[in-house]
């Protein structure tokens, strides 16, 4: 059964995908040598619903009148070989918490950089478990109230595929752990906002994944000039729901 669950989020890259986005570019007058110190991309994720193609879980993630999309992961993707992100050495590892409360993983979705750790904790009376068969090695640990399990994920497929996190005792408990091999990613909050700084200028794509909706979007490549501040807003629609794809 778990093998079926594990593949809920199959990759569906569609280059040239129709993206309802407003893209504006503000080029700074001053450019630095490297161009990376003040080059930035910022934007807001929105979800435009269609009553004929409902996303029933959208009620948890679509926020406010502006329909901001929360709990989505946005990743900056180099679109040419000459602007691959440099490997980060000597980076201080961070530890993130994924708690178990009210028969849910909290947060349900977490995005970490490769090398970071996740602290799984059970904060309620019910006896829980945390299991992930996607990572190498997989893990499967029982957690009584107050117990923790710290894990450093090794499989880093970024927004292509999160690690499925489950509790074997409670099938409705689900979590998703995105492990990104670089630092240019953002888990959105209720504002739907994201921002990337400190990357070298070049050609980039944005990739968006929302595991609860099996939403997936990959933009066309875009040239980011040195020192520019690019506003890159994205609107997802039911076209980006996996269940709508044929």
């Amino acid at each position: 059964m778990f093998s079926r669950i594990r593949h809920l989020f199959a990759l569906a890259i569609t280059l040239g995908i129709s993206v309802c986005c407003a893209v504006t570019t503000n080029l700074n007058a001053e450019e630095t040598d490297s161009g990376s110190s003040n080059t930035s991309i910022s934007g807001v994720l929105r979800y435009e619903a269609d009553s004929k193609r409902p996303w029933r879980f959208g009620r948890y993630y679509i926020k406010g009148k502006e329909k901001h999309l929360a709990e989505a992961v946005v990743e900056l993707i180099p679109a040419s070989e000459d602007n691959e992100f440099p490997k980060e050495t000597d980076r201080e590892s961070k530890t993130y918490l994924m708690d178990q409360e009210n028969f849910m993983f909290v947060p349900e979705t977490l995005a970490v950089q490769l090398g970071d750790k996740v602290r799984f904790k059970n904060s309620e009376e019910a006896f829980h478990n945390v299991m992930c068969l996607d990572d190498k090695p997989p893990f499967n640990v029982n957690l009584a109230k107050g117990q923790e399990h710290v894990h450093e994920p090794k499989v880093a497929d970024g927004t292509k595929k999160p690690l499925d996190i489950r509790c074997v005792f409670h099938g409705s408990m689900k979590g998703w752990l995105f492990v990104v091999p670089h630092r240019h990613f953002k888990l959105t909050d209720a504002s739907g906002a994201f921002q990337f700084n400190g990357f070298p200028p070049g050609k980039y794509q944005l990739r968006v994944a929302h595991p609860a909706g099996e939403l997936f979007l990959e933009t066309k490549p875009r040239q980011i000039e040195p020192g520019s501040s690019v506003e890159w807003n994205l609107t997802l629609t039911p076209d980006h729901l996996k269940q709508q794809k044929k």
Partner: protein, 409 residues
């Protein structure tokens, strides 16, 4: 449909899914404004809910998940496939569906071996039924494992009669294609490992008197593999565990079958209070569904004079015993009688929907709970009642389920 004359429909009757299309269209238009229209059958769930009603989320309830009923979004009396739960105990069996056969043997004069083509050639009947997992509602961690379907297939009783039942037969055992190694008395010097098929049983009397179905369709379409295709036993009024998937053998026996899922698992252990107040524990196999109801959703209208007009919707079901009424209580108030939703089919083995106006309520925290009452006078118990409080296993979780909301002004 007449609630006094429910249960099965033969295939030459009018297809219920083609009825009442106007209601469905109306319902779709109502939801269109909030982006929740779903394609489905003709019967809108919670038909009375108007476009001016806003859902009040339940406080402290886990989020809805795929493959579980989503009460707050359900808009069809027939449950959409993406809200249908699946449980299997011995995994998903691998087999060649084109060579699938059903064997009927044991204490019969004429054993049978039937291909799916043979079964499809038999008289076809449709059986509407609400199927609930007996663990549904045992905790917040296992909620909404229930769905309503119209199963299509051939009745079992007439087929058994054709097999010429031996007079010594008292038990009918149903085996699935799924098998697993079971370990008895593990860790002892009498440990025994045996490879067994998934099995459930019932008395011959039950098998002949309940409208059992050998089903190969769900909602007019071929059944999905994970739902038990190509052939599934459908047992109206019994918990999901009795509805054996991938049904491949039916055996008539002269003694009770004691397979794991009859005699070791899915056994309810319950304390029963005797006259002298001593508690005696009794173990019974999980079979018939219990009387149950739940508040499915709560809606509000705009605040008027500082108070919020509040309405609750819900569902009730059981083992086929006729439901008399549902009562709803707000906080510590009196039980109030809810209204049945008469716009949906009133089928014997299917859930019924209800609604109730709870009046103008002050903003703040509130608790709403329902209880179903059948025509025998049986009342759905609360968690504090002995039959629930003294139950030591989680199956048969039919206690009242209080729902909390926080009303904003």
């Amino acid at each position: 449909m007449n609630p006094q004359n429910p249960s099965t429909q033969t295939s030459d009757t009018q297809d219920p899914l083609n009825l009442n299309r106007r209601q469905a269209i109306k319902r779709s238009l109502q939801w269109a404004g909030v982006g929740m229209t779903l394609p489905g059958s003709a019967w809108a769930a919670f038909e009375r809910q108007g476009p001016d009603e806003e859902l009040v989320p339940f406080d402290g309830a886990p989020r809805a998940v795929p493959n579980r009923l989503d009460w707050e979004m359900l808009n069809d009396w027939i449950t959409p496939q993406d809200q249908v739960f699946n449980v299997q105990h011995y995994g998903l069996p691998e087999f060649d569906a084109s060579k699938f056969e059903l064997t009927i043997d044991g204490l019969v004069g004429k054993p049978m071996k039937l291909s799916m083509d043979d079964i499809r050639a038999l008289p076809k009947t449709e059986q509407p039924m609400t199927l609930e997992c007996s663990g549904n509602g045992a905790s917040k961690g296992f909620m909404n494992a229930i769905y309503n379907s119209k199963w299509g297939g051939t009745p079992l009783a007439s087929l058994l009669e054709k097999c010429e039942l031996d007079s010594k037969a008292i038990e009918v055992v149903f085996y699935g294609k799924d098998t697993k190694e079971e370990v008895l008395r593990p860790g002892t010097n009498r440990e025994l490992k045996i490879e067994v098929p998934y099995g459930r049983s019932m008395t011959l009397e039950d098998a002949m008197n309940l409208p059992l179905l050998l089903a190969y369709e769900r909602n007019g379409a071929p059944m999905e593999y994970r739902n038990g295709a190509p052939l599934r036993l459908i047992v109206p009024g019994w918990y999901g565990v009795a509805n054996v998937k991938w049904l491949t053998r039916i055996e008539l026996r002269d003694r009770r079958y004691m397979g794991r899922y009859m005699a070791r698992d899915y056994v309810t252990v319950r304390g029963e209070r005797r006259d002298n107040e001593d508690v005696t524990f009794v173990e019974t196999s999980v079979t018939r569904m219990n009387l149950k109801s739940i508040i499915a959703r709560v809606t509000r209208r705009p605040t008027q004079n500082g108070n919020v007009p509040l309405r609750a919707y819900g569902a009730a079901w059981g083992d086929g015993t006729k439901l008399d009424r549902v009562e709803v209580k707000l906080n510590n108030g009196k039980w109030q009688r809810a209204q049945w939703d008469e716009s949906i089919p009133q089928e014997k083995y299917c859930w019924k929907f209800f609604w109730i106006d709870l009046g103008d309520v002050k903003p703040g925290e509130h608790t709403i709970v329902s209880r179903a009452i059948d025509t025998n006078g049986r009342i759905q118990p609360s968690a504090d009642d002995d039959e629930i409080a003294l139950k030591k296993t989680y199956w048969e979780a039919y206690q009242q389920w209080p729902r909390k909301i926080v009303l904003e002004s």
